[in-house]
Subunit: 162 residues, 2 copies
Amino acid sequence: MKTSLPAGHLDAWRKYYTSFWRVFAAIEADLSAAGLPSLSWYDVLYELYLSPDHHLRMCELARSALLSRSGLTRLVDKLEKEKLIERKSCPSDGRVYHAQLTAKGVETLRKIWPVYRAGIAKYFASQLTEAEARDIERSLAKIAASLESVAETAGAAECEKD
Amino acid sequence: MKTSLPAGHLDAWRKYYTSFWRVFAAIEADLSAAGLPSLSWYDVLYELYLSPDHHLRMCELARSALLSRSGLTRLVDKLEKEKLIERKSCPSDGRVYHAQLTAKGVETLRKIWPVYRAGIAKYFASQLTEAEARDIERSLAKIAASLESVAETAGAAECEKD
DNA sequence: CGCTTTTAGTTGCGGATGCAACAAAAATCT
DNA sequence: AGATTTTTGTTGCATCCGCAACTAAAAGCG
């Protein structure tokens, strides 16, 4: 595993880190100002929306939505209280619950998206050419993919080797 | 202000969003596993380190370190308790406090950096060529710069126009 | 078949952080 | 100068979230 860090890569990291927090905060502020739920709610609803039959096991949903299992449990509690999803027990595995997107959940997704999209456009996309967007997508896809399986045990294995 | 969002730009956003959270979580996990403070501590200490005489007003530090004023107040409380910084009142403005990096603060910065650098290298830089890193730096610099002044009033002005 | 290990989801707890309200000081205006 | 507004930092409060411990169920193993 490569651990050297050329100056150009460090510069890229700094911009990546700073730009992300600023864009993220700006989008969250827009959502909040519009009286809409935060991006973590959107992420969960959207992952369910993408899934076949709009449902997913809790642990898979946690991974897709970039949350810990406990974090997801609480978030699903709130989403269920708002009738945006339902918990359904799994017939073939008594440990498993599926989160099932409701019609109201889809509706909420459709309310959030215009504001979210406008935020992405204003704070992120408006600064990028088509070519830049394509290059970023390609480069960052490699990074996202390389960390796909890293769930709750992040870094442990590699750390022990040092 | 442009609010349309081409598909390529949306794809770029998705990878940006997902990759960032995964890399961030992985680095935080490594720091935690090494018994080191989190990135928010590093950010504050590092911004002070970069500043002339290693000190900065609270509100400037909050902006540089990507925190709210209240968030910074609490973080500075903890850093001061650990003797990593000192609060110094400003002679020319009675409202202002300066956070002053201490020798122990510099030392802590030097303890965090190797682990942080290794994380950046492992989870971020190792996936990018020199050219990709350069392009990302250039593209994201524009985004970061366009949001430089957006502090606690993020999005408000633009939102009212819609 | 029992016993152990693993997996899925939940809960107690504590830490981190933002918003709104506040106090103090400075700046601005008349 | 006195009154108003703005700026700076802090605090009360609420929310979000992860880790560790726990329960229940399934899988693996003798």
